[in-house]
Subunit: 346 residues, 2 copies
């Protein structure tokens, strides 16, 4: 049983599991007290045809943080930030992170720079520079491939570009731990894996990569400790998966172990559990009546928005039905790639 | 493992466990998907020296409910409503309850008329008539003694007054199930208990009373099925206890069993678990350094508001540390008081 207090600042939806709704329950099951501040208060996530509700203003966020502080309630051992819809609100969260990190050098801060996916931003563009400013405050960041590209201005097209992007995040932006939770296993990524990690059907797999800085980043040439693991790609789109993964990663991260093992161990736990919850969700969605699992079809969705809604509803994470997965021992061991920096530089 | 979907509409605090924060985790541990709509977004509960944040407006609540409905996401099998700060917001919730009960005659609606305690209202006075209007929509209500008095305008001073109040709630207000979760065990209440239920130290006990209507309430003279159980009173003040009890009661209520047993069985489960969580919380608070468990002293609290804050902080429910209590089998059997209506009428 863990003990400790995690302050989670992310979105809230009434129905379904994204943002805080995907993060709080798993962390509570691990034994953490979770302080929950909501950056939005919506009916449901944006994958549905419609969403109603309000964004929390920067002033409201500041008032809540200040009130907690004045009551001596602002004392988490870990900070988790996720979806924050605009630069004003993000600046309020930046102020919080600055305060907490300056007061507690042992704070573990997982910053999930939720900005977009597959080439599309789903936050206001002016959040990007604020996130860049915040990177040095973080302990761990969990961008997806698109978010790595957005933060570093480096397109991920080959092993060298990946290593350049990691170097920029670790050295320029002073991030100790980077986790790319899932990136599609393109051939150049598959080639960097040891043979026994390479799946026979590369197209049907995702890759999870962790990279930990070994020291203060001043080593020349820069080298980080990189681990990787693949997971089978499940068909269809599920929401809240990244939020669940980040929460589990933070919950399983043990800052008292050496940096080179703390991150891959936590990622192994988060990866296995996320994949298991997702598999259970897929199994459930396949058990639904046919009209609830209509395949993606943008044109038909446009004619009948409820088509998309019904598909989404059947694909909400089966989180409360996964208490066993969240609490039992399981991992998907991350494999170190010790030679990767040498291979690349040749 | 239960399955089903509970829509919970009550307060949200970032830190600690009251309202939705006290209700969602236990219900999720029981296997329910919980849809969470927040009536306030505060830093902490009102027991602390200060609280910051905002109330959700009636328009915002309506927008969320409507958006859920348009997305076909407004389909809970159970509804749970708790703290709602003013009459406008409560009217929006009333609209929701009317809609859900009219569309689904099997909806189980637990209405906790959170208004005050120990003679003091902590919501605006104009909520009282709205709650009275809502009573016929409910399946179960969980008022405390003061809230029974407020709803019925009957002072609870003797067995006859209690039976009159229950009759008014069951007959005039058409409530099927009434649970008075905790009322201090005054001598007139102790006298109505069978000898083996009567504790030797009455002053140190609370009484939980359940009352289920046997039919449509037209029987003359009116009789309900009444059960009772005592629990030892734990010293000091804890927040969120009523919210936890109501959530557990709803979670354990099995509408497929006869009305005369469904309520006392659910109450037995809720009572035992709430008491166990509370005992664990007290044990924890006693393990804290002395400066964190300063006894109640209004004068000293006024001079130093942090005194009260620190006491409150050490008394937040140990909810996430009670996963075992929330999921293992345990109850505190409710005992039927079959002769109570006859005794009274003599």
């Amino acid at each position: 049983m863990n003990s400790g207090r995690i302050l989670s600042v992310q979105s809230h939806v009434a129905y379904g599991y994204v943002g805080g709704k995907a993060a709080a329950f798993p962390l509570q099951c691990l034994g953490y007290d979770v302080d929950v501040v909501n950056t939005v208060h919506y009916s449901n996530h944006a994958g549905y045809a419609r969403a109603g509700g309000t964004k929390t203003t920067a002033a409201e966020l500041r008032e809540i943080f200040e009130s907690m502080e004045r009551n001596e309630l602002l004392n988490p051992s870990r900070l988790l930030t996720g979806y924050i819809p605009n630069a004003e609100a993000l600046s309020a969260v930046k102020g919080l992170a600055e305060k907490l990190t300056s007061e507690n050098s042992n704070l573990t801060y997982l910053l999930d720079p939720v900005m977009g996916d597959s080439g599309r931003l789903y936050v206001a563009a002016d959040v990007v520079p604020v996130y860049r400013d915040m990177l040095p405050l973080s302990t761990i960041i969990t961008p997806n491939g698109f978010e790595v590209e957005t933060l570093t201005n480096i397109s991920l097209t080959c092993l060298d570009s990946l290593l350049q992007a990691l170097t920029k995040l670790h050295v320029t932006h002073r991030v100790p731990h980077v986790v790319i939770s899932s990136i599609s296993l393109q051939p150049w990524l598959a080639r960097m894996l040891p043979p026994d990690l390479r799946p026979t059907d590369e197209a049907d797999h995702l890759l999870c990569i962790t990279s930990s800085r070994r020291d203060d980043g001043s080593e020349t040439p820069f080298r980080s400790t990189i681990h990787a693991q693949t997971v089978p790609l499940l068909p269809g789109y599920f929401s809240g998966v990244g939020d669940l993964f980040s929460a589990l990663l933070l919950g399983h991260f043990d800052p008292s172990t050496p940096p080179s093992t703390a991150l891959p161990r936590a990622a192994a736990q988060a990866l296995a559990r996320t994949h298991a919850v997702l598999s259970r969700t897929l199994e459930f969605s396949r058990s639904l009546p046919e009209e609830e699992q209509l395949p993606s079809d943008d044109e038909k969705d446009k004619q009948n928005p409820l088509r998309k809604t019904r598909r989404m509803r059947g694909r909400e994470l089966r989180l409360v039905q996964s208490l066993d997965i969240l609490t039992e021992k399981r991992d998907r061991e991350m494999v170190e790639l010790p030679g990767i920096w040498d291979v690349s530089m040749n």
